[in-house]
């Protein structure tokens, strides 16, 4: 670029009158989400859209600054460690109002803790907090002490739960099907409500929040091409997750900016290890070799074989490759190997009759389900996987599963009539996968989709839980990676980067890792 110093400097100085009209406030922003939130109750997030929506409505006790990672709170005035580090005394700021106008105080804080400790609150999030919080006691109006079962030098890092309003509930046993899940009351920057076709978030000025966007309108994402056209035409101002094939179109558009969203998501095909032929690990290994991930990735996500810095990277276990828990010694299976797959099926006793595999003298028909919103990110993935299974000699029955059904049937381990389930898991900094693979016993294995059982895997997961040192935790998960890559309760597919798009009129739109809208107060809309 042969730009000479003086002329361009002069040209630039001349052009510096570049005018940016005053920003409008009080405006409305519409955006496409992956799906509608399944719950706006922070105890019952089951999808990333839930976390993102809840972040608008509630204040978490402490959070990390999206830019500097500094630990901050908007609702805690001060704190001090008590009982030698087995407790923290918290003074909440005064004047904060719930969205119903009532004042927030220490009783709300202790109610939230008590609700999480209540065993009749069937929340996976609460269950994690029960591991170390033992109680909460109100000292005075804005002061309460939270106690732990062990000493923490910096308990604030662990206290990232959202505050719930005591007066909105009849008891500390909070179930997921209350009206609160659709019309929550928080102290966050936006008052939210979910309808049948979308969700609305209205700005709620408070002593600790000054949102500059009057309203956010969440719309259920449909066809990605329609999403892209709509944002270009200013029909909406944002798209939370832009599928990779559409990113170049938006990247080259001056009126739209692509934004990074730090999220660790990996995709999988869960296999029903308790059903028919799939109970035999050799059949699972055969399927692992029958699937051609490179072709799937090319057809659905548009990544060419060998493409460098692809947004979609294969994985061989339950972590993304950049994670310290990913065991890099376990190779990925990028291409199908039909000869090896066939040998494994035969070894397992399947019979090839007329090009179809038979088990116990009956042709195998695989019932394959996919979480429906994934079709937006990886169009036609369900069909392509089904076609590959057909090519490998299996009849199949493809079904898309709505987000609600996924939550009520799949996550609860009730979808046992399926053979294969295509889904994805998302993580932030916290990458605990124990609930995915531990057998469903007691409080363990809450997200074990097909009630997979493997005593060796259970032992490894318990070793992770017991790990005192960082190396012990890492070694346990490296071992887990090896075990599940061998036993294959899942066929591990890939991780997929998430990129958002926002129109350039949206200003100050800092996107937080995982929670997304943590800095919504700084967002503005207008030229």
């Amino acid at each position: 670029m042969a730009l000479r110093d003086a002329p361009i400097a002069a040209a630039l100085r001349a052009g510096l009158a570049l005018g940016v009209a005053a920003l409008g406030t009080g405006s409305t922003l519409a955006y496409f989400e992956e799906s509608l939130p399944t719950s706006m109750n922070p105890l019952y997030a089951s999808a990333m859209v839930d976390y993102r929506s809840q972040e608008l409505v509630f204040d978490r006790l402490w959070f990390h600054d999206a830019i500097t990672n500094e630990l901050k709170s908007r609702i805690v005035e001060r704190y001090e460690l008590v009982d030698g580090g087995k407790g923290v005394r918290i003074t909440l700021i005064s004047g904060v109002k719930w969205h119903d106008g009532k004042p927030m105080n220490a009783k709300d804080l202790c109610f939230t803790v008590d609700a999480m400790l209540d065993k009749n609150t069937p929340s996976p999030v609460a269950q994690e907090y029960r591991q170390f919080i033992t109680g909460c006691e109100v000292t005075s109006g804005q002061v309460a002490t939270i106690s732990f079962n062990r000493v923490f030098h910096n308990p604030r890092e662990r206290l990232g739960f959202a505050l719930l309003p005591r007066e909105a509930f009849e008891s500390t046993a909070i179930s997921p099907d209350l009206e609160f899940s659709a019309k929550p009351i928080g102290t966050g920057p936006m008052k939210g409500s979910r309808g049948r076709r979308g969700a609305i978030f209205d700005a709620f000025a408070n002593v600790h929040h000054t949102p500059q966007v009057a309203q956010l309108q969440l719309q259920d994402a449909g066809d990605p091409l329609v999403q892209v056209k709509t944002i270009i035409n200013n029909g909406v101002q944002g798209i939370i997750a832009v599928p990779p094939p559409y990113r170049p179109d938006l990247s080259s558009n001056d009126e739209v900016a692509l934004k990074s969203y730090d999220l660790r998501s990996w995709w999988f095909i869960a296999l029903n290890t308790n059903k028919g032929a799939l109970a035999d690990p050799r059949v699972r290994k055969g399927l692992n070799l029958a699937i051609d991930r490179t072709a799937l990735r090319e057809f659905t996500i548009g990544v060419k074989a060998g493409e460098e810095n692809s947004p979609c990277e294969f994985i061989s276990g339950p972590f993304v490759q950049s994670s310290p828990y990913y065991n890099r010694a376990v190779p990925t299976v990028d291409r199908s190997n039909k000869a090896q797959a066939k040998a494994l099926f035969e070894e397992a006793g399947l019979k090839d009759t007329g090009g179809r595999w038979h088990y116990k003298n009956a042709p195998i028909t695989l019932r394959v389900g996919m979480l429906a919103p994934l079709n937006n990110e990886a169009p036609d993935l369900l069909s392509y996987i089904g076609n590959q299974l057909s090519d490998a000699g299996f009849d199949r029955n493809d079904l898309k599963i709505s987000a609600d059904e996924w939550k009520t049937n799949v996550l609860t381990g009730k979808a046992t009539d399926y053979d294969l389930l295509i889904g994805k898991w998302s993580f932030g900094l916290y990458e605990d996968v124990n609930h995915l693979f531990h057998s469903r016993t007691g409080n363990a294995g809450k997200l074990n989709l097909f009630n997979y059982k493997n005593a060796d895997v259970d032992a490894t997961l318990q070793a992770y839980d017991r790990a005192v040192t960082d190396t012990a935790a890492r070694d346990a998960y490296h071992k887990l990676h090896t075990q599940v890559a061998e036993d294959l309760p899942y066929l591990f597919l890939w991780k997929l980067d998430t990129r958002s798009a926002w129109r350039t009129e949206v200003r100050g739109n800092i996107i937080s890792a995982y929670y997304y809208f943590t800095e919504i107060d700084s967002w503005k809309y207008g030229r």
């Binding site: 042969a2 052009g15 089951s46 990333m48 080259s252 916290y430 960082d470 190396t471 100050g508």
Partner: protein
């Protein structure tokens, strides 16, 4: 040896003094080299004292990417009942590698050593002396083609801004296009990120318009150059804000520059600097992703993975719990 790199020799002495007597031999060897530099007065650079530590990967040859030598550099035994193995990378190797690159670049074009110093200035370690901020030699266009300086004067501006901050903008306004683009985004002595985002977008549009006019129409190669200019502007403002003690504002600009650093504008030096900045903030998530993305092409970066991995495990095991979601 982060204290030494940070220009804090007393802290480095204290760290070395805490080395246990039964430390592993390779650690003792590295510590002895640094100790000899400290004993000799801790005058930067420490290259002579560290020369014996340069592994086989620290050789820079034209057309090859040095791999930084075998990884991990250290394998230590954890002081726990299980006595697990802890793997570590040594930043000394990365430092020596960077010095070898610098020497090779200067050997290739000795007449332009001062230009190379200017390029390196924004990336210099706290312990290193800043370069001269007056350029007495002409900068050939080939130095800045498809780069993040729009002119030779920008190199001088960026070097000056990396220590002086806002005053450097005024000093170089007449000669440096980047200074001219940053200037309107400064209000009351502070860089205003929102204004700078406008400036960067505007610069990209102007560059594209100028190329269109000069070339008689739109060409497919125009947008990548516009993107380079836009990212260059954001990075320039980030440098100014950093030196102006606007840590968070500089972070906002850094993240925005990162978002736009795609395709031809994905400068690995900048990307890895963002990873280092994140690591300094104990934000391992993005840092790991950036290092992971780059380490296949630049294998020496493997040295950075060990400590990042442990930072991640340490912070995640102390983090607020969250259930996996879809």
């Amino acid at each position: 040896m982060d204290a030494a790199f940070a220009g804090k020799p007393d802290e480095a002495r204290a760290a070395l003094a805490s080395l246990p007597p039964d430390a592993a031999a390779e650690v003792v060897k590295a510590a002895a080299a640094w100790q000899s530099w400290l004993d000799a007065g801790a005058v930067w650079p420490p290259d002579a004292a560290l020369a014996g530590l340069a592994g086989p990967g620290v050789q820079v040859m034209a057309g090859q990417n040095p791999d930084g030598g075998p990884h991990p550099q250290f394998r230590l035994t954890e002081r726990s009942a299980e006595a697990r193995t802890v793997e570590l990378g040594d930043p000394t190797q990365l430092y020596l590698l960077s010095r070898a690159h610098e020497a090779a670049a200067k050997a290739a074009v000795p007449a332009d050593a001062a230009v190379i110093d200017l390029f390196l200035a924004p990336w210099s370690l706290p312990a290193e002396a800043g370069p001269a901020t007056e350029l007495a030699i002409p900068v050939d266009d080939s130095w800045i083609f498809a780069g993040f300086a729009l002119s030779g004067a920008d190199l001088v501006f960026l070097a000056d801004a990396s220590t002086a901050g806002v005053p450097a903008v005024q000093r170089h306004l007449a000669s440096s296009p980047l200074a001219a683009v940053v200037a309107p985004a400064i209000v009351d002595g502070q860089v205003v990120p929102d204004k700078m985002l406008d400036q960067a977008a505007w610069l990209g549009q102007q560059v594209e318009a100028a190329m269109r006019e000069a070339g008689g129409g739109e060409q497919s190669f125009h947008p990548p150059f516009a993107r380079l200019a836009s990212v260059a502007a954001l990075r320039a403002a980030m440098i100014v804000a950093d030196a102006n003690d606007q840590y968070r504002d500089a972070g906002v600009l850094r993240v925005n520059a990162l978002d736009r650093s795609v395709e031809g504008a994905a400068d690995p030096v900048f990307l890895i600097s963002v990873a280092a900045w994140d690591a300094g903030n104990r934000n391992a998530l993005r840092a790991q992703e950036l290092v992971h993305r780059l380490h296949r092409r630049y294998p020496a970066l493997q040295a950075a993975r060990y400590s990042l991995d442990f930072l991640h495990i340490r912070t995640s095991r102390n983090a607020a719990p969250a259930a996996p979601v879809h």
